[in-house]
Point group: D2
Chain length 333, copies 4
């Protein structure tokens, strides 16, 4: 249950009520928000005089629920780029899997600038499954991304892999990406609840929609309202493609949560040939954003070589996406 308490209460009065209700407290400018375990369905009448609103919830999806906020939340990605709410905006976020060198990431940044794309993605801390593969450039990569931000006026999104380098990522990135393999990481989730930077939370590939949105609740209940959900393919029995993009799940998230939804077709299929078709499919659904991997020379990429588009393929796709956006009355940002 979510309870809105009047701002006229003192913090110690609020804390007393929170303790009685086993609730978490968020202090907003105009109210206190208490989130109790969802099992609580009715509020004692003794709280009536201090309560502004009460939202009983059917599960521990609470702050993220469409039953709490009917309208989708707006999230500012940086530099005037807003998604969600009533914006009808779809953010195209693109870039290579990993930062590999200054030359490589600058080539990507130039492509973004040329196409008018505002947000550049690239990984510095790679969650590789093998200790014997390229692990990412780490802090050096973050610094290269910051350099591109300044030079090309781009927003930067990059991934935090584990809690040991969360501070660096929060410092250098405009948008913090929590990867599929880190989605349950309480160390990361709780820390991201304490910043105001937007958080792009990727669904784990073995994660139910319920658990996925519950992970968002950790961030939201920490006080950060700028959470974006990203579906990036789930693991199924099918192995001809790397994962299975769950657009049924995306439809569910659009219907039942109040958070913007972004899709990542590149990681889902794992092969460049299918990325344009899937990107168009996602766009036609009216999602809030797309995350697409593009590399100056995919064949020599140090990670995810098979799934990255080259610059020409991506430019063609970008044109198609703009046409589709027009047809469904959305604007690419």
């Amino acid at each position: 249950m979510i309870v809105h308490l009047k701002k006229s209460l003192t913090t110690s009065e609020v804390q007393t009520i929170a303790d009685e209700l086993k609730a978490i407290v968020i202090t907003n400018p105009d109210k206190y928000v208490l989130i109790t375990p969802s099992a609580l369905k009715e509020l004692s009448s003794k709280y009536t005089s201090v309560t502004e609103a009460v939202f009983p919830m059917s599960s521990d999806i609470q702050l993220a629920s469409a039953d709490y906020l009917k309208n989708k939340r707006e999230v500012l990605l940086g530099k005037g780029v807003v998604i969600g709410g009533n914006t009808h905006h779809t953010a195209i976020i693109a870039g290579p899997c990993s930062v590999e060198s200054e030359e490589q990431i600058e080539s990507s940044a130039q492509l973004m600038q040329k196409l008018g794309i505002s947000t550049l993605r690239a990984g510095c801390y790679k969650p590789r499954t093998s200790p014997y593969s390229f692990q990412g450039l780490g802090l050096e990569g973050l610094k290269l991304l910051a350099k591109m931000r300044e030079k090309y006026k781009l927003n930067i999104i990059t991934e935090v892999r584990d809690a040991t380098h969360i501070e660096e990522v929060i410092e250098y990135a405009d948008i913090i990406q929590i990867g599929a393999k880190s989605m349950y990481d309480h160390g990361i989730l709780r820390r991201c609840g304490k910043t105001n930077k937007p958080i792009l939370l990727k669904r784990g590939f073995g994660t139910t929609l319920q658990e996925f949105v519950q992970a968002a609740e950790f961030i939201l209940s920490g006080g950060n309202e700028n959470v974006i959900l990203c579906e990036r393919g789930i693991r199924t029995f099918e192995t001809k493609t790397r994962f299975t993009l769950d657009l049924c799940g995306a439809a569910y998230l659009k219907e039942y949560t109040n958070l913007p939804v972004i899709l990542d077709p590149s990681h889902a299929i794992g092969y460049a040939y299918g990325v344009p078709d899937l990107s168009k499919a996602c766009m036609a659904m009216g999602v809030d954003g797309l995350l697409i991997e593009v590399h100056p020379n995919p064949k020599i990429a140090l990670s995810d070589a098979s799934q990255q588009l080259n610059h020409e393929q991506f430019s063609n796709l970008f044109t198609s996406l703009k046409n589709l956006a027009n047809a469904i009355d959305r604007k690419i940002v």
Copy 2:
């Protein structure tokens, strides 16, 4: 391996070669087509003089493979409605889950006529999981569908559930649908190889893409070239939606097979709220058709009540799909 033998050979010469190669023979107007087990990669030189073409294959996906025919096959759905090939056509096939009564199916047929939709779907033999649910009207349902065909000039597609009623379905339907639960049924597959009516083969929800296309090989190797693949959602760990529509798989089928691909968003998600979004996504991918469940009054439907659109919802969706089709240079048939 697929081997094209010259038509000048006698049938007994062809059979001798087929026996030597452990091959299946299809007799076409202009050639004999032999399909050997895929393990055979090279043909003895003794056959050179009687051979027109040879196609080694990497797996037992052979006649359906894009390595065999680069261009997608054309399939005539009936009454001048063609999909596949270079047609840029997308067939919208709609109707209720089951034929329930003459009044109900006529209401559906009238909607199709009104919207200019050429193909009506409805089930007569329902593959229900429980013996205690509505099992379909059987032959009586087939007769009602035939009546609608005559009265409203529609093509009829309906499902064969098991081999015991395959003859009736072939007799009454324009297009034979093999359902997800019957996809491995050799009795059905082999019989469908001996008709020339188009076969819409649905992927089993626990079936890999490899096995799915291999099921199509049973029909194709029986001599029927009119096979359409239909992805309708696979079973995954996610239960908030009924199944998971596999658009990565659809992209794979488009790339690696020569068969038209149709998608069924209604069965995939299992809930009406998501059907419009998913239908638009499929359309934007450029698929050859969509199968959508629509019912005059979904609340009282005898099967699949939760996933059927009502007439108004479907009519609105149909308008959106026409707009999208324009934007991607396709035509709805």
Copy 3:
């Protein structure tokens, strides 16, 4: 709901009640059994005088439910071999994947006789995924199995693949196996409800436990009480093994149904190296039977070559299983 009506009623009185309740009727020697849709939870008082017992059910698992019969059903496999009930018996059923030749199947039959195993398994109609592989010997195979039955006094179990040859299988086999790919086949299920021979129903690899037991309901509600459930591995994201043997599911079936449960470790893992370990695991759970593939020379087997044990491996395993059976107070039959 299951309703037991008094045998003193006339069949037309029973049918009237069945129609009112939308129920299926089974006529037993001592009572009429009506099965209504499970949504019916209470019976009108007007039936009180003719009713012997009433069992409301929580789902369409009814005749198979432990809520209906607390004790597990006994099933006679043939020639005095009984499993289930209070027998503490575990049937070891073994033999090759397919009947390939008289010499091969006789070698298998001799091994069974030598070890004192009563039931021989082998397939004649193979549900292969490719039309270009060995499809089984069909009727010729059935006749070879019948010959082995006579010569070596064995019970024979073999698989029905589709409804087109169900009559032959019922005629020749002692136990009819419905394979994983045919588990939803209404044609087969309904016909098996009309024989009294025991039916070994395999779970589809994409089938939930709920659907699996519902398929058994088709047979039980047809009047055949001799149904055995067989778990044989489900399809998951893991591909190092062919399928994933679901022993959690087996534990569920033991707890919540009244049907004997047999396990098939060979098809589950798909590799001979793991079959002994898994067979021992199943035995220690106290299941009613094991289905194990064994071939005189697995390397040259025409189907499932990788998963069949050779005669020596199987003989060693059989010794281990007897030791385990002793330790848990069960008897191998």
Copy 4:
């Protein structure tokens, strides 16, 4: 490829070779172990004179592979309790899901002592999916566990949830458990490679066997040889049970790796009724250990209430497991 270099080399010579081969170095008392990317299949002859042994590998499962060490590694769990190698030992590790209070954990410790069980499990940092549930006692829980260790002479195993509290867990626990949701956490894996305490690594529920063993490679290549693999159920389409215990996978791990394998039936099925059957199944396979949840009063447990055995159920199971161990010539430790 794994390369053993002679100990007579200087560390700078070793580092030069490692750089040339892009290898990770482990310094053992009697040799240097270099692990290169697995793509390297042959070693230049220039290294012949300094090389003791070379092991080409088929994948990035290297140090954990049975191709590297034929015999299973021995791991000392603490206080003379050894598993793996040729010990024929099976460790029974039991205790409640979470430390809830001193009284509760002491009751558990007393049960362990009474039954002669050497290792107590209980969680302090709970990886809950909801921020609104009990999150564990944290450091206070660790201190209670340490108290039980001293008082009852038990080994303690407890879980690290994320990298923010890894130091505390390493300090207080005898065996560090990496949970299913943290299995990809590089922060945890790399830190665990730098301790010598045994690490029980749980398989993620959406994790392939390949990825699972690769996670172990992170620890092994960090220099810690004391790694134990724990299969605890994978996520499948089946929802009647909480997860699906993958015994096919356990058989694979026994065959293809050199690490001890422990199974966790409690988390797999998620319901107490099935835990005894599954535990017996695991024991009969001959695994190196079992992790079983037992609680003084499961009904009031603050986490995982449905799957914990009470003391009487567990005591009965323990007797059965001892009998089975005897029958298969193993000893419970």
